[in-house]
Symmetry: C3
Subunit: 431 residues, 3 copies
């Protein structure tokens, strides 16, 4: 009785009401495919094996669930939920002494404790089949044609019922036919979920958004109880896997996605969009700012109007400012690039001042080249650094220069034209 | 009986509770004047003529409803809703054999099917007057002093009642006085709307926002059922006339206004603001980005931090990037302008690379001039193109140049100063 | 009986459920510390003195409430709400003939009228203690262990009860023990609040956000009734002290914080973030734009993608555009800086045209220097102005110049290299 159950996730639905080329079960909710949320819930049962019955997009599932321990079973035709279970019969036959939990992939609000309680009831009462139902539902097997989507079975009894229906030549048929057959012949019952919302079934894209709204509140509330301040939970969008440290304040209209980590004591101001970034402690980010696949170390600052792209590391205490973009750049401790600059494929030392309008010309039409700037350098405003180029430690580049050759440490580099004046030119022109 | 009805929209309210110089009926909801939503609903009746009784801002109405088939009747004094109908008596007298539907302009949640059902009941029962009321309301004419705002009348009976009240010298008076007079003398009844929300009356600007919130959900839900994914419907703002294609994904905090069309399979990321734009298929837009009165063709990409202004066309596969503004510019297929650039009044060919910090100097203090850039051109970073100027096909402009003369095809153009270095300058300076 | 009451705000809670180093009572709601909202409510009573019992962060309270007329009493140990009142006994003893209102600092939805009505009941019935309770609550003193958080006492009776409990050596103890002791010995009663929401107690950071959501609706509704249009109240975030003039339209996703004033007939478009700014009449602000500690005068325009920082004044009719940052700058009437510019520490006259890509080089690595630009100047695109520098009235600076010396009025200044062309260079290069 205490053996681990088998889980069967039904993910073969085409979701024609979704009007989508992507399988319904792979549509994301807060950064995870819907089926992955169901998979998270069933993990609480510690199943011996977890199967998903999928349709004709097997590869997409394989890609989405690589390494997740999910075994895929291809369902050749759409033969209803009963047919989907039938297509897993060989897998089940190997574990006929076990319990099988059948779960559809479109119930992303199911929780582990509910599934565990369902299985516990199923085992305690020694039912052939136990159906999960809503809190106030009658304590009997749902009638033909109705839901009854989440069920625990004795594998052996399930297999018997399936082969009986198969002999009768029924196809397609709903899982509920199986349930009713077992209910007629054997011991059966229901388990009532504590919260009706857990039985919410996603049928349309709008339902998907409703499920996301529910999970979003759950996520933000959980973070708030761990010491994160959300000034306006209703306009914050935080993916399920995001982690945020204590005493960090999230202002309204902030979006944090993917596998992002935000440290302690940070402030994330409105209109910030973060994806897959590591943010240290005491970091301040002013929006609008876009941060993707990069790292901001402790006490650094970014924004407003910063764009930090892949493979950028902003070192402790450094500051990135208005209309500044960085890509594949290591930006040294306490360095500052505060206005209208583009740093790409570059390495910037410590205590560097990047003047307004500085541009690393990293692309020459053929390849990308690197710019290296030493510690303590001062780059004057309106400077182009034509890569590959190195500016030595402590050097000073005059404003308005186009630097095409390396600059020696401690040197002054100038590359600009002399200023001339034509007196009274405007007056003459006007005439 | 099957003759087309006349419709009378009461739009003369000053809306003093609005505290606005704009007439209440012209305040917009999701991109349309409130009265236009009522007009949309009454169109389901295919009325022979549609009148609106307006106050002293006739011209504003005429401008808002040009070409909409709405005939305006000026109400000289504010004499209540009854007085408003009275001011239309000459128009009604011409069609005395018809039915008249009277609708206030502040009920923007009314739907065509409800008005049709009201008219059907009115005709079937051969009432003199039929009043629209709430789902659970009693089946009798509302008492004096109450609402009863939407009514179907027999025109002849309405005219008789109006002249009777006029002889009594009552002014101002509510439409309900007319209704009650007819109810006393003739056949009258009510029709109960299916949904209470349809009777929602906008009295204040806050009510207007509540109506917008309701219509917004209706709009987004309709798009979702047609195959558009809204990750967060609660922070998406989509005007009523916007169209979006299948499998397009709208992220949180996206605003699409006016007469915009978005194609299939697009992705619109957070903090994008689109007005009156045409977006092709498979376009990706990263926010913050502002797109107004322009076209992004198939497979193009924009943002984050792009600003695309009037008369700009981004051709297929082209990319516009960070801190880049375009105005009145055709930007050729597969061309790229990815960083800190301003292209105004320009024509850019195919496969062009616009370096970071490129600026078309289109304004010389007197007039706007054009910049033309041929196919395959490479513009180095930090370049000013002083218009009018042409850069020939395949030419190469060196970084940091100010281009004032045309550049020949395949030529290299350079306009920058030589770099000089003062060794040890910083060290000396420091002392 | 008509003497002014004393008020005691209990603000010593550590808020361990907040998981914060900041005292719970100082966590902000819509720009004000939670305790300040309670203070606002009790001011309706015109108390003779208002005390707050605080914990070990006295200085933070002193800073937050400087000049607010709040007297702080340090509570040395956490001895429950009863202990908190006990620690104020010396202050109360000086006014033993008065009434004392005890209010916890975590009930930010309390209103003045409710507290006044509580006090009125308390005095009329001559109770020793009167407890505020929920609308439907039984008309008796709440049982031991329950809330009863807001109470009016006769000071003398409160002091007696406190010393009795003290003699019994009870510590810590809840205020409810005091209430029940008085209820047993003297006259006591309850007053039922009109709205249950007023009794909402903030226990966690999530509760704080719920309170903010409630107050936000109240604030936005109040502004809407005064003639401000909010297209989407659900995504507008307006701090409690913000003022907005009639006929101003606030688009979705706008955030206005602190001590900001917005004039009449303005339009604030999506993704605008304003803090402590003065905005005149008929100003249009396009987002994303960030405005902090500065002034936009009548008929000026900013954005999209503008960043206006401290001590900036944009004069009437001036326009600030895309990717333009200003700091400590006076920008003259009708002047325009529309693209990719940085103006810092500068004074710009009237009718000036700042070309795209203009940069004031205000920092030389050691100090900040000023730039002065006279009336009617034309600065060509891609210009660096190396401060300190002055450009005289009516002067013209050619595009692409680096200006290091002052420019005379009406003069043309040029500082750029001559353009040279290498014919066929690209073709040769290709080979």
């Amino acid at each position: 009785m205490n053996t681990k159950p088998i889980v069967l996730i039904l993910a073969g639905g085409k979701g024609s009401r979704f009007r989508s080329r992507t399988p319904k079960a792979l549509h994301p909710i807060l950064g995870k495919p819907m089926a992955a949320l169901v998979l998270d819930a069933v993990r609480a049962l510690r199943p011996s094996r977890t199967f998903a019955v999928v349709g004709d997009r097997r590869e997409e599932f394989a890609r989405s669930f690589a390494g997740a321990g999910l075994e895929l079973i291809r369902q050749k035709e759409d033969l209803g939920t009963g047919g989907a279970v039938l297509s897993a019969r060989h897998a089940l036959a190997l574990k006929a002494g076990r319990d099988v939990l059948v779960v559809p992939s479109n119930m992303p609000l199911l929780t582990g404790p509910t599934l565990k309680a369902l299985l516990r009831t199923h085992r305690k009462r020694e039912y052939s089949v136990t159906v999960l139902c809503a809190p106030g539902a009658p304590l009997e097997i749902p009638p033909a044609g109705s839901g009854g989507a989440v069920c625990a079975f004795k594998a052996r009894d399930l297999l018997k019922a399936l082969s009986k229906l198969r002999r009768q030549g029924r196809r397609p048929f709903p899982l509920n036919d199986v349930v009713r057959l077992l209910a007629g012949s054997g011991r059966s019952g229901v388990y009532r979920a504590r919260k009706a919302v857990e039985l919410f079934e996603v049928g349309t894209r709008y339902d998907l958004a409703l499920a996301a709204a529910f999970l979003r509140v759950r996520k933000i509330r959980a973070l708030a109880l761990k010491g994160v301040s959300f000034l306006d939970p209703s306009s914050a969008w935080i993916d399920l896997d995001v982690r945020v440290g204590e005493d960090t304040v999230i202002h309204p209209s902030v979006i944090i996605e993917g596998n992002s980590r935000i440290g302690r004591d940070c402030r994330v101001h409105p209109f910030v969009y973060i994806r897959n970034a590591r943010i240290g402690d005491r970091v301040r980010i002013f929006g609008p700012t876009d941060i993707e696949d990069c790292t901001l170390e402790d006490d650094s600052r970014a924004g407003p109007f910063s764009r930090l792209r892949a493979k950028t590391v902003v070192k402790p205490g450094a500051r990135v400012g208005n209309f500044v973009e960085m890509k594949n750049t290591v930006f040294g401790s306490r360095s500052r690039a505060l206005h209208l600059s583009y740093l790409g494929d570059s390495e910037v030392g410590e205590d560097v001042n990047i003047g307004a309008g500085t541009i690393t010309c990293n692309y020459d039409g053929v390849r990308k080249n690197r710019t290296t700037i030493g510690d303590g350098v001062f780059i004057g405003s309106g400077t182009e650094l034509v890569a590959p180029v190195k500016v030595g430690k402590g050097a000073y580049v005059a404003a308005g220069s186009t630097i095409t050759k390396d600059v020696s440490p401690e040197a002054l580099a100038v590359a600009r034209a002399r200023q001339v004046e034509k007196t009274g030119w405007v007056r003459r022109k006007r005439r």
